[in-house]
Symmetry: D2
Subunit: 315 residues, 4 copies
């Protein structure tokens, strides 16, 4: 991640503000406000603004005139209760805004979470930066043989090098031709004064999907947790998970009580089907159960045993 | 609007906070933060929290690293442009949270605006206050003869008195019977120690629709403007308009540039149909047009002339 | 539930249609299309329209040119997989529309599910029917002592009678005064020709919350299941559950494969927290665990044991 | 647009269905159901399913037991009234589902309309087709000099040829390298049996933004009109407008009364600001107004004069 001097100065200017407010504030989150936290090779997330804290959830759940309660223990008990019982609306009372720089193919996954506000940098209006994502060698994995949307082992050094060369060469070439078609370079300088450039809204189509874009993305805490539950998960693609993991850290700073409840009841928890419940009951009562008697498919059986971390029972 | 001493103290406690923040703040809005602004006879709105200001709209529209621009005039020009051309997403980057006390029949209109976060006081869980809306005499209007969902002239003094008596008597009686069924008074005291009370989730059904409820309501600026456009309008029912008008004043304090653009392009503006445009063209060219030649119904003709404030042409 | 002759005829007219279509159709659901299925004392649900069937989910998940697959077993496997892994968007590809008559206090719970389309009968514009919900004697329950938003045992016969008398008398009286204020009866006849009536938008505030209203409610299958998961559950208030249970039956007719997966993975399943997983592991390995060692509160312990139906371990 | 024989057969199979239904049907729309309507060089839209017709809007607005009204004229009057007064919820009662094939950079614009259901072909799971958008020569426009997000005149033949060569060469090369990295061809054949392929979720990042993707997209009529209002407009990028125009034709077939009202009040209409209204009043009264006296910026003045088609007044 390289920021220009001007960008660095803009960030420092924001960070040097010291405003007074009657609103609730969160010191731990203020400490990293506006900071560009690096993700992947050129990406970042920055927390730009936030509304509310753990007490705001309690306050809204109680529809109270003042703050939540005076005791942290009472607040924690209520927040855990709300999380456990899917009383979701109080979590919508906190809001956070991020500035994110990310590859376009990840942006396309991300945007499928609809309940958020988004302003993306417009390649219809402006020229995109010459920055594209090239995976680190240890992340260049083969197609999984067992899971059609997963990764297998890491590619060998030779093949990895070949892949990286192709990715780099194609991204650079298509970007150069993007500039040629625009008749303009990234810095705004014209290439050939006697020529006109192709419309930006057209030229952009020549860029590859690993080109970086950026956006402001704002959401409430409930929908952020829905996002993180899916994207900070081992089923998620590594690249989006890198963003989600960093955002999870900001949640920890912002609303630590909610964060704990989220880890306990969502991230670290599991769902058990009606059939799965019966199997657990039998296992607890000491009965022998195997996949044949279970009524589950082999795949579903293994998913259950993995979720319960009963490794010896995975077949 | 009567607040208990405890409620008043809670509000004062919130208002006496002085926190430091690196976030943008709006002094004019901070001045009224947490304050209960009275609406109707027992209702209020309170601004509880907010995120962003006019510069946040510019910042998001530009996907910038720092604040919007340095010059207010440039910001104002951009905000007007965004408003005029329905570039709506930057306005979603500001968020506001209200605590509202309002009659149930108004809450039912209000909730139809779906893009908001709501936590309502639960009458399944708690006992509602003994407070119900009784219109002021000057707002007791007859059914409009021309508009099936509107009001006509104000009722005569005698009839108004009779209506108010009925409303008051019925609300008090149904509330008293609500307490009787609960076997509990509003203050939590039990009426008859030897009896059990009906479940709260059932007893509440005996209350009338003018009973006050309250909620936390949080929305982004775009959806707030959509709400205000419909509800701070003369077509809106007087009672919800009273809330919308007070909220419009908070918008003025919060984002004054956006407020001006909103008044110019939405509230004070009008829409003209394809046929309406042709009529305006003819009128400007000096041609005589009347309803017959216009291709409009009488109703639509009058709506157009009213919108353009061409009073002499209304038929 | 009493329908007028005219309403009955309108329903029969709709049911006697026989149109040809190239769209997918579901015979089981067509059999009850438009039919008013009675709920509570005066309410009903009617399925008015639907889009798609089980194969539409498969078709969308595959983004296929034709139908889903030819084999039902393959479709079922995919639908179960989607349900288990929260791949939710394919379920949004089916849509259903209901006409519902329901008491206002239930309508207020219902409307909190925001991702749906709603058109409610307008009491600003029209006069509401003289119909209000009076619970059956066996549903008149006392306030629960252990759960602040639940019901305890059924009221004694005497107290039940007294409650019903109060509910009936208050609803009738407030309705009669509603007519008096309107100067108009439900059938449209004027009460006193020399008088004007109070505006409908005002008079309605005198009605009690058990008055029936009605609406058209349309939603996609995913959001319908989210609704049913919460409302066809034993934590839900009996009155809304009555509606949800009837709707669950329509889902069974409409998309039987999805219905089975929904029962297995959502309705009959459970969620287990991170701590809960550890307890299950210990129980399976034969270790003795009790609430003290568990790290759970007594309440949470009991919720887990109840979910797993380990009745002997509930304390 | 080339469909494989298998795809063509799948479409014919769907079209040859003849099912019976009690639901409302629209013969004009059934006539083109499932048909692939070509857009751009390889894209298409196909109407896959629909719910409701013009009478469904009336039915919901009236919350009626049967159909809307018997008379088309009454229905049309009500639909026009609803459209004019932004009574939007009845239009949500109709739903339509499309299968769309479109270039990725257009998909990215499209997806910003959030209130819709989407299932996109997954390049994490499958291999994308070797099809990319190459503009027709007459659509290869220069960047507009006056409008930063618009197009100017068409490129000269020489420059156009050069641009097309670059677009074609880059798309083909990046696609070939995509196959190389996957070690697999589009038809599923393996390139080098001794090698493993890069994970699909990674390899896709090498594709250019004009590569075609496809999705199922389902929305209600209100949100479809919101989409068309912005995208079937001359401010929209030509490529997305091509889709919107074709969809507008399907709306005409589906709900002809609503279509007429939409054209009159939305597409062909205009909005006038508060200041704009005053200028119109003066012009009608014969007063001379020019940009200086108007209080408008030059840009805004021209927008108003253009909207009113007062060409002689544009400066």
């Amino acid at each position: 991640m390289k920021l220009t001097k001007e960008q660095q100065q803009e960030i420092r200017d924001q960070q040097s503000q010291e405003n007074k407010t009657k609103r609730v504030t969160v010191a731990e989150l203020e400490n990293i406000l506006y900071e560009a936290i690096p993700i992947l090779d050129h990406g970042f997330i920055r927390v730009i603004d936030y509304m509310g804290d753990d007490t705001s959830i309690v306050q809204a759940a109680r529809v109270s005139y003042g703050k939540g309660t005076k005791k942290v223990s009472t607040d924690a008990g209520l927040i855990k209760y709300l999380m456990r019982h899917w009383h979701s609306t109080p979590f919508e009372m906190c809001e956070i805004k991020y500035h994110v720089k990310l590859p376009i193919f990840i942006a396309r996954q991300w945007i499928r979470h609809r309940t958020a506000n988004v302003n993306e940098y417009s390649a219809r209006y402006s020229i995109l930066d010459k920055e594209f994502y090239l995976p680190a060698v240890e992340n260049l994995a083969a197609q999984s043989q067992s899971n059609r949307q997963g990764r297998g082992h890491v590619l060998s050094g030779d093949q990895a090098k070949k892949v990286l060369d192709l990715l780099k060469k194609d991204a650079e070439q298509t970007y150069d031709n993007y500039e040629t078609m625009l008749n303009e370079r990234y810095d705004g300088s014209v290439i050939d004064e006697k020529q006109v450039g192709l419309a930006r809204e057209l030229a952009r189509m020549n860029l590859t999907l690993n080109t970086y874009t950026q956006w402001y993305w704002k959401t409430d805490l409930l929908n952020l947790m829905n996002f993180l539950r899916l994207r900070a998960d081992h089923h998620a693609q590594f690249e989006i998970r890198a963003y989600a993991d960093a955002m999870l850290e900001t949640v920890k700073r912002w609303v630590p009580i909610t964060y704990d409840a989220f880890l306990d009841y969502r991230v670290g928890g599991t769902e058990v089907s009606s059939k799965g419940k019966k199997i657990i009951q039998k296992l607890i009562s000491g009965e022998k159960v195997d996949v044949e008697k279970s009524g589950l498919s082999k795949r579903e059986w293994n998913e259950l045993m993995t979720a319960l971390e009963l490794k010896d029972k995975i077949i």
